[in-house]
């Protein structure tokens, strides 16, 4: 113990010296009124000294009626750190686009100070509100208060994880579809799959309303729904000229950075060869007042990304190149039904959908879910195409 009665945290203290916000600083701030903080820091300091984690893995706790939403966590040295003997995490389904009233946040924090450590993570990487640290006997009371306040638990384990989305049309003129509504509708449509884990492993859905993909759905969602447009980029020539007059080097900072070099700038006029545009958004991001996504808007559906756990990381690849915005919900639900059926039937325990597709091959997967191969499914032309040889043509004697 240090002189002030607090545990010594010399290694953790170093984490406060960098230029970034520090969780150590935040946990120290929360010491007042929350006895778990000292034990939490104490146990972590010990872990750093010993280079050994002191959380046991794989607690199973929950609330009645739900198979997910609570992640059990126990200390393996409870005698030394009794206040974190139980340190369960509760996932709470966040509102679409993470919009709250200040009242809602106060309500959440008050509930958590009554029943848990008061420490939160806003938000976890799946998107949920994360309540960090409580005891088993506090789970049902917390859940009761949350539901009375209009909140519900999020997904965990082998469930459909809480869908998340960018803030879409609420704040952003580039939104090609209403990502917040789609996210909400999907959450409501699959309450069973969210709360009662039915799958071989987790399944994440993320809705990004334009190719900037602010929720990084292409890197971390099993099903990524990314807004796009089918027609030409909307262009305001006067505004382009104003950017040039304002000092933007259009040749160097816009045209030369276009991945397909589909733009020409002759010093007065910008010409875009829209056929070659790959919707990277760079030019639109560089000149937001001059350029905008086209008017025929919808979304591309991609499948299969994941972070490395059982196998390596994967990015999503295109499954359906374009769906008009107003047909999105219906099509996505139909598609999800077919994908889940296939995955349920053939997925091994703890095999993500992307891994299953790699194992059985894209051709077999497309065949099973009843989709025809399309050129857009190839990530780069003449580079790594999926090849569709049918048995018949192979045995032709050629």
């Amino acid at each position: 113990m240090a002189d002030n009665g607090k545990p010594k945290t010399e290694l953790l203290d170093q984490l406060e010296t960098g230029p970034w916000p520090s969780f150590v600083t935040e946990i120290k701030k929360a010491r007042e009124g929350s006895p778990v903080c000292d034990d939490l820091l104490g146990q972590l300091e010990l872990s750093y000294q010993e280079k050994k984690g002191h959380w046991k893995h794989g607690g199973i706790v929950g609330v009645l009626g739900y198979g997910g939403g609570v992640i059990g966590r126990y200390s393996d040295i409870p005698e030394q750190f009794p206040n974190v003997a139980h340190f369960h995490t509760i996932r709470v389904n966040q509102p679409s686009g993470w919009f709250y009233t200040s009242d809602a946040i106060r309500t959440l924090c008050d509930i958590w100070e009554r029943h848990g450590s008061g420490l939160t993570n806003m938000h976890g990487s799946t998107g949920d509100i994360i309540f960090l640290g409580t005891r088993t006997n506090e789970l049902e009371p917390t859940f009761k208060e949350l539901t009375e306040a209009g909140f519900d638990l999020g997904g965990s384990g082998s469930s459909m994880r809480t869908p998340s989305c960018c803030l879409g049309q609420a704040r952003c003129e580039w939104a090609c579809y209403d990502s917040m509504k789609l996210c909400y509708d999907l959450t409501m449509a699959y309450q069973d799959e969210l709360h009662r884990p039915p799958f071989p492993y987790k399944f994440k859905i993320k809705c990004a309303a334009c190719p900037n993909d602010c929720v990084a759905s292409i890197a971390r969602a099993d099903l990524s729904i990314i807004g796009t447009w089918k027609d030409d980029i909307q262009q305001d020539d006067a505004a382009v000229a104003a950017y040039a007059a304002g000092g933007l080097n259009i040749q160097k900072d816009v045209c030369d950075r276009c991945p397909t070099r589909c733009m020409d700038w002759d010093g007065a006029t910008l010409t875009i060869n829209n056929r070659e545009c790959v919707r990277c958004m760079h030019c639109i991001n560089a000149m937001p007042k001059a350029l905008a996504p086209g008017k025929e808007r919808g979304a591309t559906i991609l499948i299969g990304s994941k972070a490395p756990i059982v196998q390596g990381a994967l990015l999503s690849s295109v499954l359906i190149p374009f769906i008009p915005a107003d047909e999105l919900l219906e099509t996505v639900k139909e598609l999800i039904g077919r994908v889940w059926e296939f995955w349920d039937e053939y997925g091994k325990n703890r095999e993500r959908i992307g891994e299953l597709i790699q194992r059985v091959g894209m051709a077999n997967f497309l065949d099973a879910i009843g989709l025809d191969p399309a050129p857009e499914m190839i990530s780069a032309p003449r580079d790594n195409p999926y090849v569709f040889f049918q048995t018949k043509s192979e045995s032709n004697g050629n």
Partner: protein, 105 residues
């Protein structure tokens, strides 16, 4: 080691209340543990699930995947939650005396 006391009996359990020695399981154990998982009265349906989990565990040493449990017992997942409100992993496996199922959360 935590001890679960019920009807004058004592069971050694882990921190989540799962039976520490799965080999001492018998039908009375299932009845005794039912009280902790919100299960009131064990019906034929409960026993069908418990016996299936038990026999799968004895054969393979692990709990079956959810899908297999539903397929083999003929119950939909919702029906299993109706019988075992804390779910197949926490509720049904505990009554069947399986060690705590592991899985990534």
């Amino acid at each position: 080691m935590p001890v679960f006391e019920v009807h004058g009996k004592q069971y050694e359990v882990d921190e989540d209340g799962f039976l520490e020695n799965p080999e001492i399981w018998n039908e009375d154990v299932a009845r005794d543990f039912a009280t902790t998982e919100g299960v009131e009265g064990l019906t034929d349906g409960h026993w069908k699930v418990i016996n299936y989990l038990r026999s799968y565990y004895l054969q393979y040493g692990i709990a079956p995947m959810i899908r297999k449990l539903c397929k083999e017992t003929g119950f939909k997942l919702n029906e299993i939650y109706d019988m075992f409100p804390s779910g197949p992993a926490k509720g049904a496996c505990k009554l069947a005396g399986l060690p705590k199922p592991t899985g990534c959360v």
